[in-house]
């Protein structure tokens, strides 16, 4: 599943993707933490038929109802607390150039200064993977470093 990220200056960040059923769904993260759920029109995918406004607490409850974990939210809190240090979960998509290749192949630390500190695979975790650790599709890498470094690492991993 490919998620598109679009910055909206003065408002926040929009994430959207196409569902298997052919509908486009998005989440708008306002800068104050509020979230909107965006449901795009079936016939005009350039516009939304529904915009649901959620408070921070409502968004958290909805995530639980949908069966997600709260781990990403905790991490985003952490990210606010430690300024200048960025921590991010990065998915290894099937299209990723690093799928099936090792961390060392990506030269992540040499190129970006950021490090892969853990990898999640099917609910299992691999803390502190070495440079010979081989990524497979749908792995999730936990990357930490400077804000710029992590952004560069994201480009290397997700292609």
């Amino acid at each position: 599943m490919e998620i598109f990220e679009t910055p909206l200056p003065g408002i926040g960040v929009r994430y959207d993707f196409d569902s298997e059923a052919g509908r486009r769904i998005g989440v708008l993260v306002h800068r104050d933490g509020r979230r909107d759920i965006l449901v795009y029109c079936e016939d005009d995918t350039d516009s939304c038929s529904e915009t649901l406004r959620l408070s921070t607490a409502e968004a958290a409850s909805l995530v639980e109802l949908l069966g997600g974990t709260k781990i990403t939210e905790r991490l985003s809190d952490l990210r606010h607390e430690v300024q200048g240090l960025s921590i991010e979960w990065i998915n290894v998509e099937p299209t990723s150039p690093l799928a099936g290749r090792t961390i060392g192949d990506g030269r992540i630390r040499t190129e970006t200064g950021a490090s892969v500190v853990a990898v999640l695979r099917d609910g299992e975790s691999f803390p502190g993977p070495g440079p010979d650790f081989r990524f497979s599709t749908n792995d999730t890498a936990l990357v930490t470093g400077s804000v710029e470094g992590v952004a560069k690492a994201r480009r290397i991993i997700s292609g």
Binding site: T6, P7, L8, P9, G10, I11, R14, D16, G26, L28, R31, D32, D36, L38, Y40, D44, T45, D46, S47, C48, E50, T51, H80, Q83, G84, V147
Partner: protein
């Protein structure tokens, strides 16, 4: 000053504004044009006299401009400004050329000279980020494909104003054209330096300002904004820009809290600013200049639709989405008034007042209504 009369005047004024604000809200229209019109009917011989309160209204209007620009700066981070500058350059150039030209031409035809024509160009060019951002939220269009393009256009227009305003201010101060160019370049380099500022510097500055108590933070913000505004005004580069730049530098949680703390202040003093601008305009002259303003508004609406449509098509919107983008960008508002206010205070032809009021009135209301119908 008789404090009792002054309070009565201010109180009555606020009640009228509140009533108009309610009506505007009901109709789903921006309140700014209503405040302007209210201002027309206040003042000596008008509905509510503003004699004893005039000193407060004058200072309050300046504070309104400072808060408007300060909050505008807080809306944007240097990163967002950099990103907007890096993309769609051609669209931004077309936006300037298409929408400034009507102002220049009409200004010259009215015999206002190059300076008056330049200022009118700024007034016809700049869309209202306040009105448009609210429109996008109200109409549930934040998710639309054309929206990032609209927002980036607004960012660039505000940024262009950040350079334009100091140049105009210096030229108005009666300094030579050379001094205008020099201070324009200085303003440009300060604005660019602020944008290029590494995120870390902004964070450090923000942490320095930050305070646990909301009260202390608010007073600190006011102190800094007014101080920088005062310094900028001393050097003839317009106090508005000083406040704008302070807002851009602040980032992260401080900016978030500052937005919350300053919003009520911005809303109250901006209303006073719009009223005080309306006060300077004679309702009779508004009628006199209505035909010119109407013509200018028709051209300005069409040219904005054109540049918005073209830019949205270019970044891949359907023609339907591009029509929405074009119409949404039509409203003009606070920045046009700020420009006209500075120009009139600086001695430019006073006819600028009624023309700007009518222009903003037609386009802010007309644009908002049109945006609803073009679905």
């Amino acid at each position: 000053m008789r404090i009792d009369i002054a309070l009565l005047e201010l109180g009555a004024m606020m009640i009228v504004l509140a009533t108009l604000g309610r009506i505007a809200y009901r109709l789903g229209l921006p309140a700014v044009p209503f405040y302007l019109v209210a201002g027309l009917f206040f003042g000596n011989g008008g509905l509510i006299p503003v004699e004893e309160a005039v000193a407060f209204v004058d200072i309050g209007a300046s504070l309104g401009v400072i808060f408007l620009l300060f909050m505008l700066g807080l809306e944007y981070t240097p990163t967002e400004l950099r990103q907007s500058l890096a993309t769609n350059r051609l669209s931004h150039v077309i936006d300037i050329v298409l929408n400034a030209t009507p102002g220049v031409v009409v200004g010259l035809l009215l015999g206002w000279g190059p300076l008056g024509a330049t200022i009118l160009a700024g007034i016809t060019y700049v869309s209202s980020s306040g009105v448009i951002a609210k429109l996008l939220v109200d109409l549930g269009r934040l998710g639309n494909r054309e929206t990032p393009g609209i927002l980036s256009t607004l960012v660039i227009e505000d940024l262009v104003m950040a350079v334009f305003l100091p140049v105009v201010a210096v030229l108005l101060a009666g300094d030579s054209a050379v001094a205008g160019v020099v201070s324009g370049l200085v303003a440009l380099s300060i604005v660019l330096a602020v944008i290029a500022l590494p995120a870390r510097a902004g964070q450090r500055a923000s942490r320095f300002v930050d305070a646990e108590s909301g009260e202390v933070l608010l007073i600190s913000l006011l102190g800094i904004a007014l101080l920088v505004a005062g310094i900028a005004e001393y050097f003839h580069v317009s106090y508005a820009i000083g406040a704008f730049l302070v807002g851009i530098v602040l980032s992260g949680q401080v900016a978030e809290r500052a937005r919350e703390l300053l919003e009520p202040l911005r809303d109250s003093f901006a209303a006073i600013f719009f009223v005080s601008f309306g006060l300077t305009v004679d309702p009779a002259s508004l009628v006199e200049f209505l035909p010119i303003a109407l013509l200018l508004a028709l051209i300005g609406g069409a040219s904005k639709f054109g540049s918005g449509y073209w830019s949205a098509r270019r970044s891949g919107s359907s023609s339907k989405g591009a029509r929405r983008a074009g119409v949404t960008l039509i409203p003009r508002g606070e920045f046009s008034i700020v420009l006209a206010g500075i120009a009139i205070a600086g001695g430019v032809n006073a006819d600028l007042g009624p023309i700007t009021v009518a222009y903003v009135l037609i386009l802010a209301v007309g644009g908002s209504v049109l945006a609803r119908f073009v679905a």
